[in-house]
Point group: C2
Chain length 355, copies 2
Amino acid sequence: MGEPNVRVDAAVLQQFTADVLVGFGLSRDEAAITAEVLIASDIRGIDSHGVPRLGYYAERLRKGLINLTPNFRVITETPATIAFDADNGMGHPAAYRAMRRCIEKARETGLCMATVRHSNHFGIAGYYAMMALEEGLCGVAMTNATPLVIPTFAREPYLSTAPIAVAIPAGRERPIVVDLATSTVAWGKIEIARREEKPIPWGWALDAEGNITTDPFAAVALTPLGATRELGSHKGYALALVVEVLCGQLAGAAWSRYVAGSRTVPPRPANIGHAFMAWRIDAFRPEEEFLAEIDQMLAELRAAEPVEGQPRVYVPGDPEDLAEADRRANGIPVHPKVLAELRALGDEVGVPAPF
Amino acid sequence: MGEPNVRVDAAVLQQFTADVLVGFGLSRDEAAITAEVLIASDIRGIDSHGVPRLGYYAERLRKGLINLTPNFRVITETPATIAFDADNGMGHPAAYRAMRRCIEKARETGLCMATVRHSNHFGIAGYYAMMALEEGLCGVAMTNATPLVIPTFAREPYLSTAPIAVAIPAGRERPIVVDLATSTVAWGKIEIARREEKPIPWGWALDAEGNITTDPFAAVALTPLGATRELGSHKGYALALVVEVLCGQLAGAAWSRYVAGSRTVPPRPANIGHAFMAWRIDAFRPEEEFLAEIDQMLAELRAAEPVEGQPRVYVPGDPEDLAEADRRANGIPVHPKVLAELRALGDEVGVPAPF
């Protein structure tokens, strides 16, 4: 800890990030989309998936593990489905383009599901789900990733944290934005505890024997949501498996056990898969009726009486909305170590940091 | 406890159940589908949703709260979506017909989502998801219900246990069948603890102040999957909310806070909603490739080394498959109290119990 975070203007950080990615060989277009998604994560307070990740992407680019000139293409298509191959390009632009096309098709057909194979880490799932909100549609995004989650009763990680994001439009109320890993916590929480040399709560992580540990240094994998069989970890495991099938076998990507990460030897392309959905509300009922009833529910939930010691009841997306209001006004708080890493990355490719 | 369960042949139990439902005024067709779904639940070991529930349905029928001659009809339709109105008929036949049509449309279009409004309790979600397996499709089923689940930090239940079922075909391996409530446990587990006068595990239920209780008699509501904020209850809450929106506001049914149950005064129709999905695998990639890769993953998971003290690692659906093998061979174990209730229901409508 020690030094306080430095606030950096979001637009400045985004321009720098895009320039650095161009310096590492990405096209201006691919770099712009990637930077946009990374900074959106920082703006929404999901620091684990924002610019602190730039070093990870730079490492993959430096090693030639990501295709700089991918032929992003359609594999197969029906009126309500479309399957893409990202040709091992960056995950963010692949996901952005797949979701954009998914939304277009849903506008035409009422509903669409899209898959992407041969992709890479795509940042926060919530970004792509929220793209549907701009068009008044409901949106879903999910991805697989490297193995970190241990199925109930197993010893080793077979599945990824298997995030699911769902965005649902509202009328006057702020929309519902669900964006969650199906593990109890994200791996980033273990890394934070290691930096702070503090024990982690019971139920978050497992040691090399597959038993729960509160020592972040003994933690090698994460529990599925539910933590233990008694508290429902078989449900978190089941949800992770559904995400796995959609993003792995249905998309035609690797399944998480075989997704390559930064510690895979020898290094190879990740072959991550994604899945997206979008649907029109008026395919099911008049939009204004839906929005009015969503507003009513959200107003009731947001006004619900909290338990003692808690200020209020949140709707999914509210904490991120609060972070966004702060960060748009005051800049993104960046840890000094992350700032130093960003400056070093800029130096490596001849992009001076404006902070 | 005391008396042991009595084994009753599944076909005998199903015929009796159908006859009793006809006795309460259902058409032969509606009664047959309802009995089929109820007994499927018992066969798969999900006793909480099988024939022990017959008394609940009989009570709704006796009070005239379910429409005996519903006009199940299409509200609106696009190539990939369809919205039904169940006209307050029994939930099982409404769900069965909606999923049947959803599967047909998915066979034509590649993907379909169906919703149902003005419906009633439909039994196990897994039954409808598994219907897709017979056609080689992936299937999804969900429903809302009476309020039992407390959003993170709230005092009162606003949401239902919001079950989701997903069925995914395999090749040589047994398929994946996910069927879970997004609460930590089902309410039936609290009822069992009350009958046995035993404390419940920490994390399952909340008392009237919204605090965790291990006293089943103090429990008035359930935690979302994750149990506490620290262990991720905001994720279970978020998943329940997604199910709620699809089955409530999107379908045009009540949302769970306003779904009527057996204790609602004055009694009124439930207005439960359901949502279903189905998709063709070959809309995304060749089916045989998908099935081979699913088989490979399932074989690896089923052969995974378990933690000490556990015999094996399960795939979602395995425990139910084991129950099914036993119950098809040896009959369905029915509690003597339940048998007595079933006999009384039979007597009420002139259907002698063959057990």
